[in-house]
């Protein structure tokens, strides 16, 4: 199992607990993907993230590594599953606290924190909708097939887009919730326009 995916899955489950009693597996994948985008925004390489994503035939992000971690955490009793939704239990929170002290994980925290904090400014339905407007997500949904995300050509476009985003927001913003919310609002408004 990929340790980064394991940590992110725990961290996202723990961070969203403040807003939702339980989370759907697809929401863990969604916020893991948004966290990865924030790492790109901060100038990291996609290959540094530690695991990859594809767009599902339903037009949402999915990571096989996060899926492995989810299955493991459910099996070990760190996440409790009920009606398809997951709740992190005290053992899971304890593991998260311990792992968050590792330097490698501390470096991931601003991205995970920024992505999960977007729920303070936007409803979760709108966040999901915004992420699904990504070109590759739309193509995957319309063809009913999976499609690789963060490919070389899409990364180039994302870097350009994030450079513009950073220019508008300004430097020195440590709280990555700010670019996350702006980016999601932008995607959501663009999608409203294109849906007429």
């Amino acid at each position: 199992m990929k340790p980064d995916a394991y940590y992110d899955t725990l961290a996202i489950s723990a961070k969203l607990k403040g807003s939702f009693e339980s989370v759907a597996p697809s929401e863990i994948h969604l916020f893991a993907y948004l966290s990865c985008l924030l790492s790109l925004y901060s100038g990291k390489a996609a290959s540094d993230w530690g695991y990859g994503f594809v767009a599902t035939d339903n037009g949402s992000p999915y990571s096989p590594e996060v899926d492995d971690a989810l299955r493991f955490l459910v099996r070990e009793g760190y996440l409790y599953e009920s009606n398809g939704y997951l709740t992190i239990v005290s053992e899971g929170l304890q593991d998260y606290r311990e792992l968050s002290e590792l330097l490698r994980n501390q470096e991931r925290e601003p991205f995970l924190d920024g992505s999960c904090a977007s729920v303070f400014a936007l409803p979760i339905g709108l966040i999901r909708q915004a992420i699904s407007t990504d070109h590759d997500m739309k193509v995957a949904a319309s063809f009913g097939d999976t499609r690789a995300l963060l490919t070389e050509s899409s990364l180039e476009d994302l870097h350009d887009a994030f450079a513009l985003l950073s220019e508008h927001i300004g430097v020195g913003v440590n709280d990555l919730m700010v670019p996350a919310v702006v980016w999601l609002s932008y995607l959501s408004q663009i999608s409203e326009v294109s849906n007429g």
Binding site: A24, A121, I124, D160
Partner: protein, 348 residues
């Protein structure tokens, strides 16, 4: 991804509350915003903003120990369930880091003054604002909700449909749905009201339903009687929603077309037939069929009816539709139909 529109992006940056808060108060400001947002979700669990006519100001100071309003005159709320009784008229609430709320009612306060040392939220007449330092930003509307902090999140489609019935369809409180009526009296539908009904329901489900994608479908006639398709993520579950309307509609040529129970019955049969057929064609999918009936029936209605009394207007309120078969008992993938009676504006 598609090219970014720099002008659109700039507009969003300039209007976005979290950007303004960060520009005024830095990381301490966004940390206060998070605590404030969490408290707003709790507050709007107990106070329905839709029906709240006064002003609510809620703030979180950058320094938690700061008390810009005399604390001795505040009520301290420990259990948020008490907010229902405590919030009457114009209300000011200070959010504390330990989860307590300090509450003042009937207080004249200047939000601009508070904003010098706090992140301030103001709700007034279905509009929301954040103030920080010298900047005020208005929160962009999401769907038809009075507040973004009162947007429900459903994991169950049936619960979502039931909430739509009570919050949107019953009083036609959704502007998209209002266009289905010829006028504000809500007596007669326009021609083809189903498009407005479908769009209103899609708008609601898209934002409020968790873990699913909601898409309007092109209705291809009796062989494909689906108005809305809901696909649940990472599973083979999907739900089909068929919409039917009952009541009277004025066609463009002025003629009146009326639909009663028979229309709902034919919709149920269509959906049941489709589910049976689909079970053979796509056996790997777990499909559920939902019949949603928008019920705008009025007794003794004519195309030139201008008003209606409460007896005729509410005649069909509790008259359930009798289906030929108990489809929901006979077919395990057929959900119990949901009838949404749409209230008229009646004369005494």
């Amino acid at each position: 991804m598609d090219n970014v529109d720099p002008n659109k992006l700039r507009q969003i940056v300039e209007k976005e509350s979290v950007v303004a808060i960060h520009r005024q108060h830095g990381d301490l400001g966004t940390a206060s915003f998070r605590a404030l947002a969490l408290a707003l979700k709790t507050i709007f669990n107990y106070i329905e903003p839709e029906s709240f006519g006064a002003i609510i100001v809620v703030f979180k100071t950058l320094d938690d120990s700061s008390r810009p309003i005399d604390e001795t005159t505040a009520k301290t709320v420990v259990n948020p369930a008490n907010l229902k009784q405590e919030v009457v008229g114009n209300t000011v609430i200070q959010v504390l880091s330990d989860g307590r709320l300090l509450l003042w009612t009937g207080l004249e306060t200047r939000a601009q003054t508070l904003a010098k040392e706090a992140v301030v939220y103001r709700y007034q007449s279905r509009r929301e604002y954040f103030l920080a330092g010298s900047t005020e930003t208005e929160v962009a509307k999401v769907g038809q909700y009075a507040s973004i902090y009162s947007v429900p999140a459903f994991s169950d489609l049936r619960l979502a449909l039931e909430r739509y019935r009570s919050d949107r369809a019953k009083e036609t409180s959704c502007p998209i749905l209002q266009a289905a009526w010829t006028n504000e009296k809500q007596l007669l539908f326009v021609q083809g009201p189903e498009d407005f009904m479908r769009n209103s329901l899609v708008d609601f489900l898209k934002i409020s339903l968790r873990d699913a994608e909601t898409r309007p479908e092109q209705n291809m006639g009796v062989s494909y009687p689906v108005d809305i398709k809901v696909t649940f993520n990472f599973s083979n579950r999907l739900a089909l929603i068929e919409i039917k309307w009952l009541g009277s509609s004025v066609k463009l040529n002025g003629k009146l077309v009326s639909h009663y129970d028979g229309r709902a019955r034919s919709g149920a049969k269509q959906l049941a037939d489709y589910l049976v057929k689909n079970r053979k064609q796509a056996p790997t999918h777990i499909m559920r069929g939902y019949l949603v009936v928008f019920d705008g029936r009025r007794r003794r209605i004519k195309k030139n009816t201008k008003s209606i009394n409460s007896e005729d207007g509410g005649y069909y309120r509790h008259r359930e539709i009798k289906f030929d078969l108990k489809y929901d008992d006979e077919l395990e993938d057929f959900e119990t139909p949901i009838r949404m009676f749409m209230e008229p504006v009646t004369e005494p």
